[in-house]
Amino acid sequence: MSAKVWDLWPGEVQWQPMSRQLRTVWVLRSLLNVLILAVLAAVPLTIWLGWDGLLWALGGYVVLAGLRSLAVARTVATWGYAEREEDLLVRHGLLTRRLSIVPYGRIQLIDLSAGPIERMFGLTTVQVRTAALGSTTEVPGLDPPVAAALRDRLAVRAAEVREGL
């Protein structure tokens, strides 16, 4: 079962990778998240074990953060998007693999957003929404010019082939 879901898609698909910075950003973000967890865990550990608790918290942080960064780094590699003639394909996921197909004609909204860490590295996320609830498709970690260009292409295509609800 080595074949990934998206590799089975019929025809040739040109997968565009995300920006190289995305891995850095996401690893940083996960390090930060785990750090918050570690700080939260350090307080009861210190009360329970004395100053040794801090060491335990630090050790746990190093191990967890290492594992998490590895997983995140591998996850980033699975992200990709492809613009085809009639639709946009987005793939991602390490354990659970997801492949979203959004026809240009059904696009209702296109959002660009960038969080603080993303902005520091000059990255932008493109969000594509259709009329279906919960069908927001994200393309994270694009360089701003690439993201803006993608947004413009999508918007033009969406206006050309508008389809109904």
Partner: protein, 492 residues
Amino acid sequence: MTGQVPERPDAAVREEPAPPLADLPYGPEPAPAGPSAPPAGAARQRLHPLTPLLESFRFFAAAAAAVGIQVFTSQNFLFAVYVAVAAAVVGGIASLIALQYRGFVIWGPELHIYSGVLTRSHRTVPLDRLQSVDLVRPLRARPFGLAQLNIEVAGGDGTDARLAYLKVDRALALRAELLAIAGRPIAAAPEPEADAAPAEAAAPAEAGPGALIPPVPVRRLAVASLLEALPVQVTALAVFGTAFAVTGYFFGFSTVATTVWFGFLAPALLGYVQSTVATVNRFLRNCRFRLSRDGGSLLVERGLTDTSHETVPVDRVTAVNFDEPVLWRSRQWRRVEVWTAAVAQQGGGAVKSTMMLPVGDPGQVALVAAESVPELPSVFAVERPPRRARWRMPVAWKRTGAALDERVFVVRHGVLVNTYVAVPYARIQSVRVVQGPFQRLQGLATVRAMTAGGLGHDAVARHRDVREAVAMAAELRERADAAAALERPRLS
């Protein structure tokens, strides 16, 4: 590398005119240019004078109850008279003031609704986006011959507008008017079923001949409701009984009866009673069910205590559900429900479908199916997921499946209530293929075809073979495009 906001580089680009589009303009002709908002002096149509009274119905009931108790305990009947006079005066003045600010105007292709005394609100409903107009008659409004119009446009929460309350005949006329404004481009389209309909469209809504199906006998509806509720009820009672007997056997019945009762059984029993009440409610709501056709839309009238009129434009149907509760199977009864892009808050539920047939035999089901989506069959040959997926759903496996039918994507699922979901290809918004870690080990994947509106009625084909799933998604995309291209393009 800087913290530049990404919108900047293209801000200038957006100022320029958009690149040329396709040669043919898509969608309906733009409406003739006119003022987008009605002038301040435009004659507003008023709502019925009793409206504020009915809207604060709960408050009045509570007040009446409080006063009643007060009078009963103190035996001071003069007090009741004072309160009644005061309430009448205050309520009357408040109603008069409130009515001055409430009203609606139909202005070109838009409906403007005004409300609010202190906080003014002005809602504009673009009628070309109209999904449906429902006429509802709540119990409290029926003695006064009043009704309420629920106007739905596509979208999620808060996109519906209410016009309450109006005289019934006025509400019916207004609904016809709104639908006529909304439906003008639809009626102009050369649709095959539009030609067959005018004879029925001419028939007034109250008359019998427009009905598509014979009225559902109350007896059959009652039996059907009972049969549907029976498995749940029996299971619940069995669980309660067993729990009580087992715990009673070990700890003594009297202790159980006092301690466990309040902790566990009472809440559970409450839920049980609630589900029973819901069943009865649904039965009452589906009584006197009538389905008729009016041009390009279907009219549903139903309800014993609260009557409601619902209108479903046929070309807005995003999915058709065929439900078959376990105990209906031997009788070959099925229920038909239809989803549109509107998500209404009516009845408190977040997701809402419109009942097309509360219970019917195969012939009626086929008839209703063909009416809700042109040429939709009512019996589908779905293909089961591969056998290796069986352990994931040992009971449901036999009754699960998916098929790419000629016009619709069909999915079957469910144990207690087995459901076929049919989604016309033209209504599929986006497609998603998801493969969880265990599915990957088995070479399975789930395909989800999403339609406009809620999450509840996406067509989900679970646990297909990976290759088949991806091929299915690709095929769905192609067929969706083909079907959408066949339709007369429209903007909403």
